[in-house]
Symmetry: C2
Subunit: 200 residues, 2 copies
């Protein structure tokens, strides 16, 4: 049986409205119970859309959960575009850590947990969230290399993992802080490297 929303189907005028209603319902459910309790069934009930409609757009619950998460989170912390690539990296890193200290951090850790047993959630998180963020970071790195702020020959992926991996590890193990001061010091440590530099 189709609901009123479902009757029009995708591609019809109300298509985008239905999609947004599904994404909103999905995010609300994520916020309420994390990804472990998240099901397509529950999203269907909450949004009023049929399960078949949901599956037409998202192949599995991981893909839907991550897209709904992205819609909310991506808007909250884009890479800034100042004159300094280093300043932009530091601002964004602070922003990620700030999000991780709150509700988003709980969500991300629940997604990391789910990703250990559900390959679809892992792939959706890597493809939908992590890789696009890394592509955005890469543009900032390239801007920094062009301006002379960052060294050429940088391995972007490993530079990202050194900066963001520390924040993910602290999110999951809480063995160190995620405050602005700690994150600034992390950025400085990775920017300056561990080897000594000649005095300027």
């Amino acid at each position: 049986m189709s609901t009123a929303v479902e009757a029009r189907g995708p591609g019809r005028p109300r298509c985008e409205g239905t999609k947004q209603a599904i994404l909103r319902a999905a995010y609300d459910l994520l916020e309420e119970g994390g990804i472990a309790a998240f099901t397509i069934e529950a999203v269907a009930q909450r949004s009023g859309a049929a399960k078949t409609t949901i599956y037409r757009w998202w192949p599995n619950k991981g893909a839907l959960a991550i897209e709904s998460f992205l819609q909310v989170v991506e808007k909250q912390n884009p890479f800034p575009q100042s004159a300094s690539a280093i300043a932009d990296l530091k601002t964004q890193l602070r922003g990620v850590a700030r999000l991780f200290r709150g509700r988003v951090g709980q969500l991300v850790s629940s997604i990391m947990v789910e990703a250990q047993t559900d390959p679809e959630t892992r792939r959706a998180f890597v493809d939908g969230y992590l890789n696009p963020r890394r592509a955005a970071a890469r543009k900032v790195f390239e801007r920094g290399i062009a301006s002379g702020e960052l060294r050429a020959g940088l391995d972007f992926d490993l530079a990202c993992d050194a900066l963001y991996g520390a924040i993910y590890m602290r999110l999951l193990l809480r063995h160190g802080g995620l405050g602005d001061a700690a994150v600034d010091l992390l950025a400085e440590t990775v920017l300056d490297g561990l080897r000594p530099r000649p005095a300027p």
Copy 2:
């Protein structure tokens, strides 16, 4: 009712033998099913020790699981003590990544998962595994600073998180490799920093 093993109790001659039997049984169970299915009850059955005996040494399942894990893993990858602190860091980092590529990696990710819902497991992992490893790394950093290989004023905790956080993140999200070449490049990236250096 006490078993034959239990009758002597801790502090008696067979105490260390009982302890080792419990730790061996605990590690075998961890290897078989990860930490999620790990219980004091199952360890008692497998080792033949009474639950009361186990609880006399370990306050909770997290503490026992981590200690049994440590006994096996710590021996596998100590920090080497060569003339170069940088070489030692790189060797140890490669070793961790190599362990993470195999069965130990599955165990560590199952511990990270459990740590998200069980504070005792999280604390046992941080206090029993992570912090002692960081203390060992700190000694290597200090040796490197004394020899001039590493810069003074380094924040040891953040340097550790930049190096090891990347490896933990890759263990959990599998978005990048943990092979020797990738790990060497990670070490070089963090050692050299992201800022340009004057030509030597």
